[in-house]
């Protein structure tokens, strides 16, 4: 199993958002669906260790988020739906910082910058367009040597060229053994990606959807 969830519960105050007893996935590309407000972003943030939650999240059958927080985070990357970064920083600042933290191989950051067309490296995020911020967040999610990459609504606000580059990167990384969890309200199978399984986040848990 690449990723395993055991008894995770997530709540905002008295409102319970997630209650997943057990969920396991192997190598593949998974489409996570759910209506607005179903808790997809909360699930992804919990999986990435951003929002502490009860229960266990285990990666590659040995890295527990709580017991091995650093090893776990080295191997699981998240590209957020609506990324927010300190507005005075530049994409160049952030990419070099995250590349160092994620132990990114030499040349990887430059490859991603080039592939996704991140032109405004020296402009602050405060002056960047939302599309540019999104491209940076996508580049960050591919840094390092992850075994799982979560892409939360990766297609919103990016242009056609970046979209094509993104699917190229997903295919390339997937061939190298990376598992993807993708949430998207837009179809993406026509881009040549084979979805292993689809799940819907409903009633606080993940329900497998039949193959189409």
């Amino acid at each position: 199993m690449v990723l395993e969830i055991q008894n995770i519960k997530q709540r905002y105050g008295s409102l319970e958002v997630l209650d997943i007893v057990s969920w396991k996935i192997g190598y593949g590309i998974y489409w996570i669906q759910g209506e607005n407000g179903a808790g997809k972003s909360t699930l992804f943030r919990s999986l990435a260790g951003i929002l502490p939650c009860s229960g266990n999240i285990i990666l590659d059958e040995k890295y527990d988020l709580k017991a091995n927080p650093v090893d776990f985070r080295l191997r699981l990357n998240l590209g957020e739906a609506e990324p927010l970064y300190p507005s005075f920083l530049t994409p160049a600042d952030l990419i070099s910082f995250v590349a160092e933290a994620k132990k990114s191989p030499p040349g990887q950051a430059e490859m991603l910058i080039d592939a996704l067309g991140i032109n405004y490296l020296k402009h602050t995020f405060g002056s960047c367009s939302s599309g540019m911020v999104k491209k940076v967040s996508l580049a960050l999610s591919f840094l390092g040597k992850p075994s799982v990459i979560i892409l939360d609504e990766p297609l919103i606000t990016i242009d056609k060229e970046a979209r094509e580059a993104l699917f190229g990167l997903i295919q390339q990384y997937h061939q190298n053994g990376v598992t993807f969890l993708i949430s998207s309200h837009q179809l993406f199978q026509q881009e040549g990606l084979t979805v292993t399984e689809s799940y819907a986040l409903k009633n606080k848990t993940l329900i497998q959807l039949p193959h189409e």
Binding site: Y12, R45, A48, G49, I50, L51, P52, K66, P69, V70, D71, F72, R73, L74, L76, N77, L78, E80, P83, L84, Y85, P86, S87, F88, L89, T90, D93, S96, F97, V98, E100, A101, K102, K103, T124, F125, G126, S127
Partner: protein, 361 residues
């Protein structure tokens, strides 16, 4: 009307919470009733008293105006321009009420001055206060009117006209301090002013007789404690402004030491005041410095337990300071308190970091 209060007035007090927290700590922690009375009497009786009061209030009003002018350029505040559809009179009344919302601190202080004037039979001196209220609230109304008459729907506040002639270091600590200076400058100002005042008073008092290290240990601890506003802002930076950083593979120990070093840098300015007075050896200054650092780090760790809810923090902070005072008075060595405090803060940080329930707004 309600939306104006929630979106603008509440946003002001929420975003400046750290600043007001420190301000209140200075006004009601450091200053006693006699000082407050003395200031009020000065404003009422000195030939230039009311000018000083007007100056201070004007600075605060400028701060509020700048906030409105800037806030309403944010994309998410596009809706505010619908206020131009209101009839002029209705809009003016609502903007005046909004202005009073902003000016609450000076309204309350004005009431205090009036009560002192009544007590000391100085009521004939208070009329300028009401003129100030009218002028300053109109000032804010004009600022709001100007903004909606000149819509500017992009946020240019982060486009600095000044750039350093060298690349920004890829350093979390550098970014944290830079963020504080850029985004929380007033909190920095009030924290440093408050801590500086307490330091100076303590050092002056220390010179009046023969005291051992316990006196500055208590006094300077209080001064260092006034940096909790900054510590609170740093917590917000880590856990709200850039929550995503929690997904980075950074060991807990590194996160703690990063925090420790940032706090160590932040309390350096007031520590330099101690050197200026030349009353202690370097070893003693370092002891006091680490005592202050350990107090702040315990506070910072405790924020992770409470999830950054400031209202829950006042009681523990005050209780903690009382306990610390007793420990110092009963001659527990300062080095032992500092060392234990730093170790305890690391232990608590490690314990609470992973279980923080992040505030969601």
């Amino acid at each position: 009307m309600k939306i104006l209060f929630i979106s603008t007035v509440q946003a002001f007090f929420r975003q400046r919470a750290g600043m007001f927290f420190v301000l209140l700590a200075v006004l009601f922690g450091f200053m006693g009733g006699r000082e407050h009375y003395g200031f009020a009497l000065f404003f009422l009786t000195d030939p230039f008293g009311m000018y000083y009061l007007a100056g201070i209030w004007l600075v605060y009003t400028l701060l509020c105006s700048q906030f409105v002018l800037n806030l309403w350029t944010h994309q998410e505040y596009a809706f505010i321009y619908h206020t131009t559809l209101w009839p002029f009179l209705k809009r003016s009344v609502r903007f005046i009420l909004m202005a009073f919302g902003f000016l609450q601190p000076i309204l309350y202080y004005g009431i205090y001055i009036v009560s002192i004037a009544r007590q000391d039979k100085l009521l004939n001196h208070i009329w300028p206060i009401f003129v100030f209220y009218i002028v300053l609230s109109l000032f804010l109304v004009l600022a709001a009117e100007w903004r909606i008459a000149h819509p500017k729907l992009f946020n240019s506040k982060n486009k600095s006209s000044f750039t350093w002639p060298f690349p920004r270091p890829v350093s979390w600590i550098y970014w944290s301090v830079e963020w504080l200076l850029r985004e929380k400058a007033l909190t920095v100002l009030f924290c440093k002013a408050g801590a500086g005042c307490v330091f100076i008073c303590t050092l002056i008092y220390y010179q009046t007789d023969v005291y051992d290290l316990r006196l500055p240990a208590i006094g300077l601890s209080l001064g260092y404690l006034l940096n909790i506003g900054l510590s609170y802002e740093l917590f917000g930076w880590e856990n709200e402004i850039w929550l995503w950083n929690r997904s980075l593979p950074i060991p807990l120990s590194t996160r703690f030491f990063r925090n420790l070093l940032t706090h160590a840098i932040l309390i350096t300015p007031e520590t330099l005041i101690v050197f200026r007075y030349d009353l202690f050896s370097i070893k003693e200054v370092l002891l006091l410095y680490f005592l202050g650092l350990s107090i702040l780090m315990i506070f910072q760790s405790y924020l992770y337990r409470r999830g950054g809810i400031l209202e829950d923090m006042m009681k523990p902070v005050l209780s903690g300071f009382v306990i610390l005072t007793f420990m110092i008075l009963y001659k527990v060595p300062v080095w032992a308190i500092s060392g234990t405090g730093l170790v305890a803060s690391y232990y608590l940080y490690a314990k609470w970091f992973a279980r923080t329930e992040i505030k969601t707004e």
